[in-house]
């Protein structure tokens, strides 16, 4: 097959500048016809001398992109050509900065790593929700649009749970980027969204330390070390990495997929709320696993069996995040006014308890909204504001204690805002909250504006 040149016309589309020459495909800007979106055309490299995976990857990419709902986190597929005659994909040209630009200047500040990572995690969560797994995450495949949203590109190795996985046959040599590839992908398993979380962890590691967590494996044998060798803790390489970031990164990079986060939304949540990250031994780790543990893992690597793939997200939502809106304005006992406050708190607890009983994985974010410190009249000094913040946290914890939930399933948030509903809605969007429990007089407004399901909780009149 001749390499298409700028100026060529394919099915009425005129090729412009060649943007990218990959091993599998070329990408061109399109000069026409005019439409509402700037477009690119991806043309697979087919023909004698080109590997068969190119055509399979093209088929897979078309299937996955064609099935995704329109959204900011991946390019919109506009048109495609027949695979037997003129194979091409016409997609939206995504304007934005590639993650590789930041990566070139790694290590980056922890706050920046967290911000970039949280946005990327939200994009991953969006595709995972649609039963798509990217499986080829690398800094060149992540763009940040001018509006800030992360956009994933190149779905040539992606997996869609609703479609036959045409790439599953290519298990003998693992396909994808070896530097970020998860242990289960090395074994040819392509149906676990947690593989993307592993790659996300590897990207965050590199952003935070400037080093690749596993170097650059060049042989299959080197690649297989990932089945037993954990990376050096980021803080051992760079002391400026905070413990919460190390916790998040190492949890994403767990060899056993069961020990990683259950969903990308949880990663986004932790990256957006550093103070709330539950620190485990990972946070304070200063060396790799000891030689004995490594030796043991290496011995069992031959029979390494990752946990089975989770059920499809669209059919069974993974680890939901539930926001409980506890009180609006200080102090906490003014939820509904008067005698019914404790009854409302108890009603909320009962609802949460029922949900946690039905779904043992859900995480509960307890939140309350207070006016900004500056708005405190007369006593607007910092000490008072801090004191108030702590009082609110104490109240939130006191509310949650009777639930008897494991500490890592609970988080506490005192949101400062003049507009309690807007603050809650904002929190729910940024943290990919699945459900909000709310009581009191703002419930109706929260219910009408929330991006997710809302349960309005009431206390029974006789209580």
């Amino acid at each position: 097959m001749r390499t298409p040149e700028p100026g060529d016309e394919i099915d009425g589309f005129r090729l412009g500048e060649r943007l990218h020459t990959g091993t599998m495909a070329w990408i061109y800007r399109l000069l026409g016809p005019d439409g509402p979106l700037p477009l690119v055309m991806k043309i697979p490299r087919l023909g004698p001398g080109e590997p068969a995976i190119n055509v399979i990857s093209f088929e897979q990419c078309r299937m996955v992109l064609g099935a995704l709902a329109q959204g900011p986190h991946y390019p919109t597929l506009v048109a495609y050509g027949d695979i037997e005659t003129t194979p091409y994909l016409v997609m939206e040209y995504v304007e934005g900065r590639r993650l590789s630009e930041w990566m070139r200047e790694a290590p980056r500040a922890p706050e920046e790593v967290a911000a970039l990572g949280a946005k990327l995690a939200l994009a991953l969560h969006e595709i995972h929700r649609q039963d798509v797994i990217h499986l080829d995450l690398k800094s060149a495949n992540v763009l940040y649009r001018p509006g800030g949203e992360a956009t994933l590109v190149d779905f040539g190795l992606a997996h869609h749970g609703h479609f036959p996985d045409l790439l599953a046959e290519e298990v003998r040599t693992p396909v994808g980027n070896w530097e970020y590839m998860s242990p289960e992908q090395i074994l040819g398993i392509r149906c676990d969204p947690r593989s993307d979380l592993f790659a996300l962890g590897a990207l965050l590691y590199e952003l935070a330390t400037g080093r690749l967590p596993f170097g650059r494996p060049s042989t299959a044998a080197q690649l297989r070390r990932r089945l037993y060798l954990d990376p050096a803790p980021p803080r051992a390489l760079r002391a400026a990495v905070p413990d919460w970031l190390q916790e998040v990164v190492l949890r994403c990079l767990e060899i056993d997929n069961r020990s990683r986060y259950a969903s990308a939304a949880e990663v986004a949540f932790d990256l957006a709320n550093p103070a709330q990250v539950p620190r485990t031994e990972r946070a304070s780790r200063s060396t790799r696993a000891g030689w004995l543990q490594r030796f043991g893992r290496r011995m069992s690597a031959g029979s390494f069996a990752p946990a089975p793939c989770p059920p499809l997200a669209s059919q069974a939502a993974a680890a939901p995040i539930v926001l409980v809106a506890l009180a609006f304005g200080p102090p906490i006992d003014s939820v509904g006014g008067g005698q019914s406050d404790e009854a409302l708190c108890e009603a909320l607890r009962r609802s949460v308890r029922r949900l946690c009983g039905a779904d043992g994985r859900c995480r509960i974010a307890c939140a309350t909204v207070v006016p900004p410190a500056a708005a405190l009249t007369g006593e607007g000094d910092a000490a008072t504001a801090t004191g108030r913040h702590i009082r609110q946290l104490v109240e939130l914890r006191r509310w949650a204690r009777p639930l008897e939930l494991a500490e890592e399933r609970l988080t506490y948030h005192v949101l400062e805002s003049e507009k309690p509903v807007a603050a809650l809605i904002d929190y729910a969007s940024v943290n990919e909250v699945d459900q909000i429990f709310v009581a009191g007089n703002l419930a109706a407004e929260v219910a009408s504006r929330a991006p997710c399901s809302v349960t309005v909780v009431r206390a029974r009149p006789q209580e």
Binding site: E59, G66, E84, F163, P164, D165, L166, E169
Partner: protein, 247 residues
């Protein structure tokens, strides 16, 4: 052409009617009945008459092992409930239904599509396609781009990989799957009349041959009535329970 595919109907009139109505709503232009039209269920005559009407209008129909047994041909491997139901069915079939069944082929070829009840490798041996190895045998023997079959009651799609090893896929109901023409595909459309995957909704599939798309469906139907008829007919109780629970 939009081709509606039904398999393992097993004398379940309620399920067949529900699937046919669903297919009509989705614009099905032609039908294929992939064997095991009778057996297990309580409506063999009505089901066969309905399918014969479609056959007269150009539907593809192939013979299944239960159909062969109902004709008195020797069929191995039927369980005791199946044998009881076949004996019961034989007494109900009239000359017309028997003649219709007797004229059915084991496989039908239409362009690059093959319709068969079990494996295309040896349709008369009624072997089950339970994995990649059996799928490969059927695909090699079929010499067709699309193979539609039944016999196994769960919906599955096998697609041929580059190394001649088919890969199994469990379809998601309602999602159109592009079935690229350069590949070979084998679809087990699932049982309309006796689903067994703990979901009591009837199975069928729609192939859009022009657009190369295949969609598997599940349709809720009046399984309570179908089960009630089985009980009223004095057929084994577990055949009624199967419909209620989809087991």
């Amino acid at each position: 052409m939009k081709l509606a595919l039904f398999a393992d109907i097993h004398s379940n009139l309620e399920a067949l009617t529900a699937c046919l109505e669903h297919a009509a709503r989705l614009g099905a232009e032609r039908h294929a009945f992939l064997g095991d039209l009778v057996g297990y269920g309580a409506d063999p005559v009505a089901v066969l008459d309905l399918i014969a009407e479609h056959a007269a209008r150009g539907a593809f129909v192939v013979l299944g092992n239960h159909d062969a047994a109902a004709l008195g041909r020797s069929v191995k491997g039927l369980n005791s409930a199946a044998v009881t139901a076949i004996a019961w069915t034989q007494k109900r079939l009239g000359e017309r239904q028997r003649a219709f069944l007797d004229a059915l082929p084991l496989a039908v070829r239409h362009d690059d599509v093959l319709f068969v009840h079990a494996s295309a490798a040896a349709p008369e041996r009624w072997s089950y396609i339970t994995g990649a190895r059996q799928a490969a045998q059927s695909m090699r023997a079929a010499n067709a781009q699309l193979i539609f079959c039944g016999h196994v009651h769960e919906q599955r799609l096998y697609y041929m990989g580059a190394d001649a090893k088919p890969m199994p896929f469990r379809p998601v109901a309602g999602t159109p799957i592009p079935t690229a023409r350069h590949r070979q595909w084998l679809a087990i459309v699932g049982s309309a009349g006796q689903p067994r995957d703990r979901n009591n909704a009837a199975c069928w599939a729609l192939a859009d041959l022009e657009r190369a798309r295949l969609t598997f469906f599940r349709v809720a139907y009046d399984h309570a009535r179908a089960a009630e008829k089985i009980r009223a007919a004095g057929l084994p109780e577990r055949l009624a329970r199967r419909l209620e629970r989809g087991i």
